[in-house]
C-alpha cells in the first residue's frame, strides 16, 4: 500500500478513489445482526452469480443497515431500491431485475401498520424520521475500504484539524458543539478534553470505550464493525487535541467481528501513514492498540476499564481524582465512548455551531439507539435529541405488534428505568430522562407490551447486575443480592408490603453508598418500576397475581374445554406427562405435575391453553 506523506497526498488519493467510484452498486448489510439473519449465504450466492453473469456491479458488504428486524437488507444504488428479508434463492431474480431495470414487488418493504409498500429506502417511515449522521455512511462503505471512506469525506476532518486548527481550537469547537458523552453519563466531551489538554504531563492516553455492557444494546458494535475508520478518525483528532501519542480501543471479547475490523483498520492506517510517526507530515505521532476485554459489565466503568487495560482485575477505584488528571498508569487519560468519538469528525468538519443547532438546549446532536422489543421495526436508529419517545416508538418503531397495548419503554439498560405510557411525550434528552427516573444510557431502548411483567423486568436487571457486580464494595455486593432475593420472593408470590418498602430503602443506600457507577445506578430499574407500576408490585404481593402471566409461581396453565379439539399434541409434547386425555377428547392438565414450561400453550393450534 502507498504511504501518504502529506495532506496533498491524501487529497490525491481521494480524487483517485472518487474517479473510480461506481455509480451502480449493491449494498448488503453484513454486520453481526445481519449475519444472524443469514446474510452471509446471500452474499456468497450474490458474488457467485454476479461473476457467473459477468456483471459489472460491485457488491459492498457493509455494516448493518439499521432495519435489523428485516435483515438481510439490500439496497440497489444509485436509485436506492430497498429489498428486505432477502434469501439466497432470491438472488437470481434480483439480478434479473437489476439488469432489466425492474423492481421485485415481493421483496419491498410494506408498512405493517398502514399497509403501504415502499420502493425506495429514503421513503420508508423508519428512515424518514431519523437523522442519520454517524450512521450516515453505514450502507455506502465497505467497513475496511479506505477508498470508500475517502469518497464520503473520510479524513477531511483529520486534515482540517491537523493543518488548519490548533489543538485548543479543536477543543473549543467541541465545547461549542455541546457534545456530551454517549457512554451513558453525558459528560461534556469538550470539557473533558480541555482538562486533559491542560495537564503538563508529556505522556497522555486516549481510550475508546467499546465495552458496550448493556445487555440490550449493540450500536457501538455496529459502529466498530461498519465504520471503524470513522471512530478511529475521531480518536486521532482527540489525541491530537489533548496531546496523546498512544491510544487504546477496548472491545469486548464477545465482539469478534468488531475486534477484527478495528484491528485491520488500524493496520491499514499504519501502512498509509495515518497512524504512527509524523502523520501526514504534520510532525504528530500517534498509534492505537486494540485491547480485548474479558467480559465484565463493570469494565465499562472508567476506573475498572483502566485497571483492566493495565492487566488487572476490572475493579473500580475511588474517583476523587479524574482520569483526565491521573488515569492509565497514573497519566492524564481521556476515555470516550465509541459513538462520542464517531461524532467528532462531523463537528470538526462542519463546526461546533452547526452541531449545536441539532437537538435541544442541553442535549445536542443525535443519539443512536438499538430499538427492540414488541414493536414492528426493530433495529438501529439515529434520532435528533429532543425527539419524543412516542415518535421513536410509533413513527420509527412502527408501533406495538399484534394489536397489543403499550406498557413501557426501557432506556438505559441495567442503569436505566422503565417509563410508562404517561411519559411517552418526554423528549429524548439526558436530563429529562434522568429526572423521569430512567437514563439515556448508552442506547438500549426496549419497548414492552402488556405481556411484560414490570416486576419481572426489574428482577431481570437486578439479576444481571448481581452477577456483574465486582463484589468489592458492600452496598452493591450485598445490597443487590438482597434486592434480588426480595424480588424473587415477590415474583414467587411470597412478598410482603414490607418487602416493597425494604426494596426502596435498599435502593436508596445502594445508589448513594456504592463505590462505582454500577452500584450507584443499579437500583434504577427497581425504583422506576416501583414508581410507575406500583400497582403491579401490589398485585404480586397482595393478590398473588401476575397480570402479564410471566411470573411462573403465580400462574397456572389451563385447557379451556370449549376450545380443545382433542388433537392430542400437548399430550405428546408435555415433558413431564402432566396432561391426560384421549385423542378427540378434552384434555386436562394435572396441576401437581405441571412444571409450567408453557410448551402446551406453544404447541396448541386452537388457542385452548390459557395462562390464568
Amino acid at each position: 500500500m502507498r504511504r501518504l506523506e502529506s495532506r496533498e497526498d491524501l487529497e490525491r488519493f481521494r480524487e483517485e478513489a472518487l474517479s473510480r467510484r461506481p455509480e451502480r452498486f449493491i449494498s448488503l448489510g453484513m454486520g453481526t445482526a445481519s449475519r444472524a439473519h443469514g446474510a452471509e449465504a446471500v452474499y456468497f450466492v450474490l458474488k457467485e452469480e454476479v461473476a457467473k453473469r459477468g456483471l459489472d456491479i460491485p457488491i459492498k458488504a457493509t455494516g448493518d443497515h439499521g432495519l435489523c428486524g428485516y435483515a438481510p437488507v439490500m439496497v440497489i444504488y444509485p436509485d436506492g431500491v430497498l429489498y428486505h428479508s432477502v434469501k439466497a434463492q432470491d438472488v437470481p431474480d434480483i439480478l434479473d431485475a437489476v439488469e432489466k431495470g425492474e423492481i421485485i414487488e415481493r421483496l419491498l418493504y410494506t408498512d405493517p401498520m398502514t399497509g403501504v409498500t415502499y420502493t425506495y429506502e429514503e421513503e420508508i417511515p423508519f428512515y424518514k424520521k431519523q437523522m442519520r449522521l454517524v450512521l450516515g455512511p453505514m450502507e455506502l462503505v465497505e467497513p475496511l475500504s479506505v477508498e470508500d471512506y475517502l469518497c464520503h469525506g473520510g479524513f477531511s476532518a483529520l486534515t482540517k484539524a491537523f493543518f488548519d486548527m490548533k489543538p485548543e481550537e479543536i477543543i473549543q469547537e467541541v465545547i461549542t458543539s455541546g457534545l456530551r458523552g454517549r457512554g451513558g453519563a453525558g459528560f461534556r466531551t469538550g470539557w473533558k478534553w480541555e482538562d486533559a489538554a491542560m495537564r503538563p504531563s508529556p505522556v497522555k492516553y486516549i481510550i475508546c470505550n467499546g465495552d458496550e455492557g448493556d445487555p440490550g444494546a449493540y450500536m457501538d458494535r455496529c459502529l466498530l464493525e461498519g465504520l471503524p475508520y470513522g471512530v478511529l478518525e475521531g480518536m486521532i483528532i482527540g489525541a491530537y487535541a489533548i496531546g496523546a501519542h498512544e491510544g487504546f480501543v477496548y472491545v469486548r471479547k464477545e465482539y469478534p467481528l468488531a475486534t477484527h475490523n478495528v484491528q485491520k483498520a488500524i493496520e491499514t492506517l499504519r501502512e498509509l501513514g495515518l497512524l504512527g510517526e509524523n502523520i501526514l507530515g504534520s510532525g504528530f505521532d500517534f498509534d492505537i492498540q486494540v485491547v480485548r476485554g474479558g467480559g465484565a459489565f463493570v469494565c465499562g466503568e472508567s476506573s475498572a476499564l483502566i485497571a483492566s487495560v493495565e492487566g488487572r482485575v476490572g475493579e473500580p477505584r475511588s474517583k476523587h481524582v479524574h482520569a483526565t488528571e491521573s488515569g492509565l498508569w497514573g497519566r492524564p487519560t481521556v476515555l470516550n465512548n465509541v459513538e462520542t468519538l464517531a461524532n467528532v469528525p462531523y463537528i470538526v468538519n462542519r463546526g461546533g455551531e452547526w452541531f449545536a443547532a441539532i437537538g435541544t438546549e442541553e442535549s445536542k446532536g443525535t443519539k443512536v439507539f438499538s430499538l427492540a422489543g414488541d414493536i414492528y421495526n426493530t433495529g438501529l436508529v439515529e434520532v435528533p435529541m429532543g425527539i419524543t419517545l412516542k415518535e421513536v416508538v410509533y413513527d420509527i418503531g412502527g408501533g406495538i405488534q399484534n394489536g397489543k397495548a403499550f406498557k413501557a419503554v426501557q432506556t438505559g439498560g441495567p442503569s436505566g428505568g422503565c417509563l410508562p405510557a404517561s411519559q411517552l411525550d418526554l423528549p429524548v434528552e439526558f436530563d429529562t430522562l434522568d429526572a423521569a427516573g430512567s437514563m439515556m444510557g448508552s442506547g438500549g431502548m426496549i419497548v414492552m407490551d402488556e405481556d411484560a411483567c414490570m416486576v419481572d423486568v426489574a428482577r431481570y436487571f437486578v439479576k444481571f447486575l448481581t452477577e456483574e457486580s465486582c463484589g468489592k464494595c458492600v452496598p452493591c455486593r450485598e445490597g443487590l443480592r438482597h434486592m434480588l432475593e426480595i424480588l424473587d420472593r415477590i415474583t414467587q408470590g411470597e412478598g410482603t408490603m414490607e418487602d416493597v418498602d425494604l426494596l426502596e430503602e435498599l435502593g436508596y443506600v445502594v445508589a448513594n453508598a456504592s463505590l462505582c457507577g454500577l452500584g450507584k445506578s443499579a437500583p434504577n430499574p427497581v425504583l422506576s418500576t416501583v414508581r410507575y407500576f406500583r400497582e403491579e408490585y401490589l398485585e404480586h404481593v397482595k393478590d398473588k397475581k401476575c397480570r402479564a402471566g410471566v411470573c411462573k409461581a403465580l400462574v397456572h396453565y389451563k385447557i379451556i374445554a370449549e376450545n380443545c379439539t382433542g388433537c392430542h399434541i400437548c399430550f405428546k409434547e408435555c415433558p413431564v406427562d402432566a396432561i391426560t386425555g384421549e385423542p378427540k377428547g378434552v384434555h386436562v392438565i394435572d396441576q401437581e405435575k405441571c412444571i409450567k414450561c408453557g410448551i402446551c400453550k406453544d404447541v396448541c393450534k386452537f388457542d385452548a391453553v390459557k395462562v390464568v
Binding site: H320, G471, K472, H482, L515
Partner: protein, 236 residues
C-alpha cells in the same frame, strides 16, 4: 496546615491527611472496617462515608481516602450518613452473622435487627489481608476469587499457597480476626491458607520465633548470615 470543621468542630489537619485521620486525631468517631494506615485505602466497606461540603458543592464520600482541604465542612451525623451506615452494617451482619466485632459496631451505630436472610460467611471481604500480604510483606500469597457475592478471599485454587511464609501479618491485621494462627509441636499452622511450616528456635534462648519459610524469605531478602538470623529479637 489545613483548617476544616468536622461536625461543627474546628479541626487542624496536616496537608494530605485524610478526613478519617483528621477526625480520629480530633476524637471524632467514624466507623471504618477496611482501612489501616499501613496499607492504601481501598474504599470497599463504605462505612466511613461522610458528607463533605467544599464551596457550594456537597458530596457523599469515603472519609478513609478523601483528602482534607482548607475550609472544608465535614458532617458525620446527617440523616443520610446514618441511614447508609446502618444499612451497610446490617448487610454485613447478614453476610457474617457471627462476628462479635460487627455486633459491637452495631451497638455503637445503632443497628437493632437484621432484616435480611443470613449467610454464614466469616470473612467480610475487606481485603485487608490480601493488601497487607501484597503491599507490606510483598508476597501476594493470597488473593480474591470470583466476583459479586460469590467473591471470596483465598489462596489460588484454595490450595496451599507456595509463596506464603506464614508470617501471620494477615492474621494480625484482619479486623474481624478470622485468620487463626496456631503453633503446635514445633509447627505453625494457618488453616485458612492450608499451610504448615516448621518453626525455627532461637539459637540463644531456644524459643520458637519464626517459621522456616520466613527464615528462608528473610535470608534471601536481607542477605544476612545464617547465624545472625537464627537469633530472636529479644536476644539480639
Amino acid at each position: 496546615m489545613v483548617k476544616l470543621t468536622i461536625d461543627g468542630k474546628e479541626v487542624v489537619a496536616r496537608e494530605g491527611q485524610t478526613v478519617l485521620e483528621a477526625a480520629q486525631a480530633a476524637g471524632i468517631y467514624i466507623p471504618a472496617l477496611c482501612y489501616h494506615h499501613e496499607v492504601k485505602p481501598y474504599t470497599a466497606c463504605r462505612l466511613c462515608m461522610v458528607e463533605v461540603t467544599k464551596g457550594k458543592r456537597t458530596r457523599f464520600v469515603t472519609a478513609c481516602d478523601y483528602v482534607v482541604a482548607d475550609s472544608m465542612v465535614v458532617r458525620t451525623d446527617t440523616e443520610k450518613v446514618k441511614k447508609c451506615r446502618k444499612l451497610v452494617l446490617e448487610l454485613l451482619m447478614a453476610q457474617c452473622p457471627n462476628l462479635p466485632q460487627l455486633q459491637e459496631l452495631a451497638q455503637i451505630i445503632g443497628v437493632e435487627e437484621v432484616r435480611f436472610s443470613k449467610s454464614n460467611d466469616d470473612c467480610i471481604l475487606c481485603g485487608m489481608c490480601v493488601r497487607t500480604c501484597a503491599e507490606v510483606v510483598g508476597l501476594h500469597a493470597i488473593g480474591f476469587e470470583g466476583r459479586g457475592f460469590t467473591r471470596k478471599v483465598c489462596t489460588p485454587f484454595d490450595e496451599p499457597s507456595e509463596p506464603c511464609i506464614l508470617c501471620g501479618a494477615c492474621s494480625y491485621i484482619c479486623p474481624v480476626d478470622v485468620i487463626p494462627v496456631e503453633e503446635v509441636d514445633g509447627y505453625r499452622i494457618m488453616e485458612r491458607w492450608h499451610k504448615k511450616s516448621r518453626l525455627v528456635a532461637c539459637s540463644k534462648c531456644g524459643k520458637y520465633f519464626m517459621t522456616e519459610d520466613e527464615f528462608r524469605f528473610l535470608q534471601e531478602k536481607t542477605g544476612l548470615p545464617e547465624d545472625r538470623l537464627r537469633i530472636c529479637m529479644d536476644c539480639r
